[in-house]
Amino acid sequence: MLFRRRQALTCRRAVELMSDYVEGALSAPDRARLETHLSGCPHCTEYLAQLRVALNALGEVKAEDLSEDALEEMVTLYRQWRAG
């Protein structure tokens, strides 16, 4: 039986996998390959840390506050609809 050894990841490929990695969406073999790569690559480790910071920053992005006019407009529409 042939045993085909999978090649080590390049940094480019490691970066391509990182978004899925932080989602927990990688297969077990891919996760293992990425973690092996990360253990020996400070640049990719730094990139991953920065990606996590970016995700945290996105999670803190708030929508604009709803203006009083816009809210009043919506309630007026709602009342008109209720009134038929």
């Binding site: 978004s19 989602e23 920053a57 996105l58 929508a63 529409l77 709602y78 609809w81």
Partner: protein
């Protein structure tokens, strides 16, 4: 199918009275939107969306107000990623709310209320626009120049010396992330908004946008990488 006509917005206090019957000025017209002069029966503004839907089914206007206050701005931001024109986006969100109150009996609770709202919005926009989609430049672009032919780093990421946990730095990064979001290609922005900003589960993002999980992964990868690159530029200039 077009959107419902928008109500002409009142321009001052006098004409505002024409929009709301005398004696029926809503509490939010008092000017202090943060402190409604009533206490909702089941935990006030912390009511779950499901409880609010139950009350909305029963015709409770205050439940509608709370839902709108909770989700309208996020819907409008997302609508702006679906259409180019701000006023068209506003109309789409208005139309979404009307579709929601009209179709509230059909909501089965299989997804969160937030997901349902986004899904209705996407359907309204796409049906109005004939499912026209804007083209997006192919390729990942943002980091392609960072690698050499061998796939190793040609321009490795520079370590961010500043403490990203510092509150001021975090606010600075948040502002930059928000600005970067606005500049993402539409499909990337939609995916990142729903997944990373609104926190919808991946499968619900896929069903809302009508894309495969593979598409979503590519869009998130590219969008997140662009945001990281924008933050990187911010940190280098800090």
């Amino acid at each position: 199918m077009g959107f419902v006509p928008r109500i002409v917005r009142c321009v001052n206090q006098n004409t505002s009275a024409d929009c709301v019957p005398l004696g029926c000025r809503p509490w939010f017209a008092s000017g202090d939107l943060s402190r409604p002069p009533f206490r909702l029966g089941c935990g006030g503004m912390d009511d779950s969306d499901q409880e609010l839907l139950d009350r909305l089914r029963a015709g409770d206007e205050r439940a509608f107000v709370v839902l709108v206050r909770r989700h309208h701005a996020a819907l409008l931001r997302f609508a702006s990623s679906l259409v180019d024109n701000r006023s068209v986006a506003e109309e789409a969100v208005q139309d979404t709310w009307l579709a929601v109150v009209r179709g509230i009996e059909r909501f089965e609770g299989r997804s969160s209320v937030k997901t349902w709202l986004f899904r209705v919005l996407v359907n309204r926009v796409r049906s109005a626009a004939g499912r026209e989609r804007r083209a997006e430049a192919a390729g990942s672009g943002f980091v392609s120049g960072s690698f050499g032919r061998s796939g190793g780093w040609a321009e490795p990421p520079t370590e961010w010396a500043t403490d990203v946990d510092d509150r001021l730095v975090a606010e600075q990064l948040g502002r930059r992330a928000r600005a970067c979001l606005d500049g993402l290609p539409p499909t990337q922005r939609q995916a990142v908004l729903l997944r990373d900003v609104e926190g919808l589960p991946p499968e619900q993002v896929c069903s809302t946008l009508g894309i495969t999980s593979g598409n979503l992964r590519v869009l998130l990868h590219r969008g997140r990488a662009r945001v990281r690159a924008a933050l990187d530029a911010e940190m280098r200039n800090a």
